[in-house]
């Protein structure tokens, strides 16, 4: 036994080598972990938590049950499918909840929440708050019905019943132009109110086209950058980077000045006689304007990854193909191009994902037909304060991006992507 112990290799201080090596490995791992810890913490705080919170916000429905706890309980066993109102107990609970909420100043939140589902709820609750404060004793039902006849409408109660749970699917339904009818069945929004599907599909196809246009325009530029002698390519690189460093708003506004009907481009075309003064073209505040401005703004995101990949392709490859008898075209298509696919993939993914999330540029130049889904997310975050719907729209967008990413991975393989 002692003999085998002695055969174990030991370091100078007598610790078995295996243990010592293991310790060193653990130490270096901990060091490595400590180095990435700030990034992990940052990702968690700045990225994962907000996204998790946003996902939750799209189904969070605590407003009604937390502000109207008594009513939520009292109408639990009421049958919304029937055609009769809840009983006196539910009306008493309602009066107490309204009185409490009126005192706590939370009544408006319930009204606004339910108003998303049914126009008119906001004013009903506003009105009821003041009047219900005067109710001191039974009969509750009779007095509540006197406040507003909508309290005698079964559909009002069905809505409260439906939205008295802690979670709701209403925001997600609204985000895809669906809604619940009075019988809690999922139906399409009336045609006059359908917008989001159109916007999602418009955002996707326009972003797709923007990506293709960026590729068509960016590929030759990147090729030139990668193959020209350094002194020329540096100059060209500055031309690519200069707009990249310019403020987004400045670039967008410049396009307005250039493209508007009284703008530089139209003036020029009138001057050379291409169009008449009365026939000036509408080049902005429509889809065309969005395409032009977005392609220009996103072009560097296509050129830079393409360039960094092309830079690594040895010119010897094409030369070898030529020497083996390939025409310049064949050599380019069969030998050079396949080597750039990783850059093409990276550029396309980058441009596409940036594009579907853009909102300043489409807001300024998109007019009526060239705005994206992000413009509506911004509207609901900033103006209507309907954060649930904004979160649902954002979550759907996130799911769409992830789905497209997986599709890309399946078809092209994400390992083939190269950013530089």
């Amino acid at each position: 036994m002692s003999k085998t112990m002695d055969e174990v290799m030991r370091t100078a201080d007598g610790v078995p080598l295996k243990v010592s090596l293991h310790k060193a490995l653990v130490r270096s791992r901990i060091r490595a972990l400590l180095l990435v810890l700030p990034l992990l913490a940052f990702l968690l705080v700045a990225f994962l938590l907000p996204i998790g919170y946003m996902l939750f916000r799209s189904i969070d429905n605590r407003i009604v049950p937390s502000i109207f706890p008594r009513t939520a309980v009292a109408i639990q066993d009421w049958n919304p499918a029937g055609n009769w109102l809840p009983g006196e107990a539910a009306f008493e609970a309602l009066v107490r909840d309204i009185q409490q909420a009126f005192k706590d100043r939370t009544l408006g939140r319930v009204g606004r929440r339910l108003n998303y589902e049914k126009p008119g709820m906001s004013s009903l609750f506003r009105k009821s708050g003041r009047r219900a404060a005067r109710i001191t004793g039974p009969p509750y039902k009779e007095q509540v019905l006197r406040i507003d006849k909508r309290w005698g409408d079964v559909n009002t109660w069905r809505l409260i019943h439906r939205e008295s749970g802690a979670l709701t699917g209403a925001y997600f339904l609204a985000a895809v132009d669906l809604t619940l009818n009075d019988r809690a069945e999922i139906v399409r929004q009336p045609e006059a109110r359908r917008i989001y599907r159109t916007l999602f599909s418009r955002t996707l196809w326009m972003s797709g086209l923007i990506t293709v246009l960026c590729l068509l325009l960016g590929y030759p530029v990147a090729y030139l950058l990668a193959t020209l002698p350094l002194r020329y390519s540096n100059l060209l690189m500055i031309l690519v980077l200069l707009p990249f460093w310019t403020s987004l708003l400045v670039r967008t506004t410049s396009w307005i000045a250039l493209l508007q009907t009284e703008g530089v481009l139209n003036d020029l075309m009138v001057f050379v006689g291409l169009i008449t003064d009365d026939g000036r073209l509408q080049l902005i505040h429509n889809k065309f304007g969005t395409f032009v401005a977005m392609v220009h703004i996103l072009l560097p995101f296509m050129i830079l990854p393409l360039y960094s990949v092309m830079k690594t392709i040895s010119p010897a490859l094409t030369r070898a193909a030529r020497s083996l008898g390939a025409t310049p075209f064949t050599a380019f298509v069969r030998v050079y191009m396949p080597n750039t696919y990783s850059g093409v993939g990276a550029g396309c993914i980058m441009v596409f994902i940036l594009s579907i999330g853009y909102y300043i540029t489409p807001a300024l130049v998109g007019g009526r037909t060239g705005t994206f889904i992000s413009n509506f997310i911004a509207l609901h975050v900033g103006q209507t304060l309907n954060w649930g719907l904004a979160a649902a729209l954002g979550s759907l967008l996130l799911v769409l991006v992830l789905a497209l990413y997986l599709l890309y991975d399946k078809i092209v393989g994400i390992d083939n992507m190269k950013l530089g």
Binding site: G111, N115, S123, R126, Q260, T261, G263, R368, L385, W387
Partner: protein, 366 residues
């Protein structure tokens, strides 16, 4: 190490003492000419009279509502006072994000002793059935047109805005249903008092869209207040709806060939709300008492053409501080300009905003 710690503690102590000495008030407003007018009329004189207070301006514009909600929900309120439109203030009040105001306790009486609750324009302190809003100004969304766009007769009524035959040329309208729906119905012959009742029905909404359809191809839709004067100045559009103060600045200060069309201007209010949970409530109240008194509101009109929201201020509106122009004829509240006025029904809009936003955007996309 010890020395570093000591000096850090010292620095912290100095910083603390400094902040206790000079009290910062974080005031949110719209930026540009509007904040400048508040700076000159309210902030500067207040800071002069109260050397311990430092007012810091934050230009959040229409982003204020979202920021306010984020702060109140997270429990860390850094904003002390926010300038917002009445419509936003109603939302903030309904959501419980702002303090309730007791007008006669908080606000100064008029010089003749009329209490604030009587001196502010009727109903403006309780706009939309809320009690969180202290109005400062009456502004209007009205029309401006290029004086060189039409030969002969110039547009003079709301009907002319919708008349492409008599007044051909592009229009600029705000990209939201508010005002546009009301204007469409009035231009279509509906009496102003029936507008909201009509808009509550599907037929009424369809009728408004049908009227808007007649000019739809010719409309450039704007989202930021700075856009319509620019569109007019560039000659991109012949007639534009815009905030009257922006048009004033384009016409009087920048001397553009633009004229006002006041017919059926929409009166709207802009004023203060106090974020719930501000750490400086006492200081905010003190500032508010000063900044909303009769003279201060009248002073603001020296710098921008918005009407003060108090009866007692109207008589004190004088000349523009720099241009020397008499400001009265440029006020939306001037009798000559306000023969026909549209008043937004805030309660109605609170009920129907979601629905009409959807319908309006669906209509736009068609």
């Amino acid at each position: 190490m010890k020395r570093i710690l000591t000096s850090m503690a010292l620095a912290a102590a100095v910083a603390l003492a400094g902040s206790a000495y000079a009290q910062n008030l974080n005031i949110v407003s719209w930026g540009g000419a509007y904040t400048a007018s508040q700076q000159k009329a309210y902030h500067d004189p207040y800071m002069k009279a109260n050397p311990g207070v430092k007012i810091v301006n934050h230009d959040l514009g229409s982003g204020a509502l979202a920021k306010l909600r984020a702060e109140v929900e997270s429990g860390k309120v850094t904003l002390d006072l926010i300038d917002m439109t009445a419509a936003d203030a109603i939302v903030a009040c309904d959501e419980g994000l702002v303090e309730q105001v007791e007008p006669d306790k908080w606000l100064a009486a008029a010089p003749d002793g009329t209490p604030a609750s009587k001196d502010f324009f009727a109903g403006t302190l309780s706009v939309g059935g809320t009690n969180c809003f202290i109005p400062q100004i009456v502004y209007s969304t009205t029309f401006g047109y290029r004086t060189d766009a039409f030969k002969g007769a110039q547009p003079s009524s709301l009907a002319d805005v919708f008349d492409l035959k008599k007044f051909p040329g592009k229009r600029a309208l705000e990209k939201r249903p508010n005002n546009n729906m009301e204007w469409a119905l009035i231009a279509d012959g509906v009496a102003a008092k029936d507008v909201y009742q009509m808009l509550s029905t599907d037929e009424g909404v369809a009728r408004a869209f049908a009227k808007l359809d007649t000019i739809k191809d010719q409309v450039v839709w704007w989202t930021k207040g700075a856009q319509p004067p620019q569109l007019l100045a560039d000659g991109e559009v012949a007639i534009a709806s815009a905030y009257n103060g922006r048009l004033f600045s384009a016409i009087i200060e920048k001397k553009q060939p633009i004229a006002m069309l006041w017919d059926w201007q929409n009166f709207d209010l802009d004023g203060w709300v106090v974020p719930k949970g501000t750490r400086n409530l006492a200081a905010v109240k003190k500032y508010l008492r000063f900044a909303t008194d009769t003279q201060r509101l009248a002073d603001q009109a020296k710098y921008i053409s918005y009407g003060p929201a108090r009866h007692s201020s109207a008589g004190r509106v004088g000349k523009h501080a720099e241009l020397g122009v008499d400001m009265k004829p440029h006020m939306p509240t001037d009798p000559a300009n306000s023969k026909t006025v549209l008043l937004s029904n805030y309660v109605w809009w609170a009920d129907h905003q979601t629905e009409l936003n959807d319908k309006f955007n669906a209509w736009l996309a068609k």
